[in-house]
Subunit: 178 residues, 2 copies
């Protein structure tokens, strides 16, 4: 019997929790795994996304970039499509920062719709989460969010257009709260 999609999603929760188990968020007390769980909830409840593969990619979106997990680890358990989406959400850490960001943005712009949805949910959650951080950190994170939104605007895939609008609204709210 093949595993039902929801049970694969449950396994992705545990996989992400194990991969990130030694990391914490910027508040220095919340386990990092809370973030991919929250991104999965933003996709479901704010953006209205129900596709299990997209939700799985959300749960795994930082595993290749931030943990010893590689493409094959993800592909073996969750398939090549999900692994490819996670890879597109992963910066090339071999590059110098000033080259890494443009390369990352260019790859994102060209990526599939589900990658755009996860990236926007990631940004959305960071906007919700930053309200607890010191003002200087919030200002910096808002500035980067705004730059990203402006860059991304002409590239957003149609299936992510509504999510883009919701993220822009959330950005405006975060800016008004500073």
């Amino acid at each position: 019997m093949t595993t039902p999609p929801t049970e694969t999603l449950l396994e992705a929760v545990s996989f992400a929790a194990r991969a990130h188990r030694h990391q914490i968020r910027k508040d220095r007390e919340t386990p990092y795994a809370a973030h991919p769980f929250r991104v999965c909830l933003v996709l479901q409840r704010v953006f209205g996304i129900d596709d299990p593969a997209t939700l799985t990619a959300a749960l795994l979106h930082d595993t290749i970039e931030d943990t010893p997990t590689d493409f094959d680890d993800v592909a073996e358990r969750f398939g090549e499509t999900v692994a490819g989406w996670v890879a597109a959400l992963t910066k090339d850490m071999r590059l110098r920062d000033d080259l890494r960001e443009p390369a990352y943005f260019a790859a994102l712009a060209a990526a599939d719709g589900p990658v755009h949805l996860v990236k926007l949910a990631d940004l959305y959650d960071n906007l919700c989460d930053s309200s607890h951080l010191p003002s200087a950190t919030r200002q910096r994170s808002l500035r980067r969010a705004r730059e990203f939104v402006e860059f991304f605007r002409p590239h957003v895939k149609p299936e992510a257009a509504a999510a883009f609008a919701l993220t822009e609204e959330r950005l405006a709210r975060a800016a008004s709260e500073i």
Copy 2:
């Protein structure tokens, strides 16, 4: 501005991750917080429950029993209703085990529908999760799940009847896989 329900739910993810940060699951490697998040996903995706308060209680359901969190910590951040549901899902650790279980079962039977939904999702997730455990552990966990289902049957609140049927089906599948 009051916090939108989804953002309260995101905060409950982080709250649960912090509360359980030093605990792991029975496989001895998965951070415990994966479990409440999975229970939240079971409620949404298997039982079709969308109520943010019920989902919040799912995220917090083990915090009072297993961590230093108390009723007031939950009530202060998430309200008295959610705190009351979490309390109903909490065993009285002051009692001897043979008195504790009947007291817990009796309180559950008398509890609100959302408590029944979370308890069934908890059981459902444990059934999914136990497939990785050694056979003796699985057998014991299946026996306890069966006892609980038989006890619970005459007490299930109408709003949890469909979830009860789905949990019974999942139990039968787990039994067939041993």
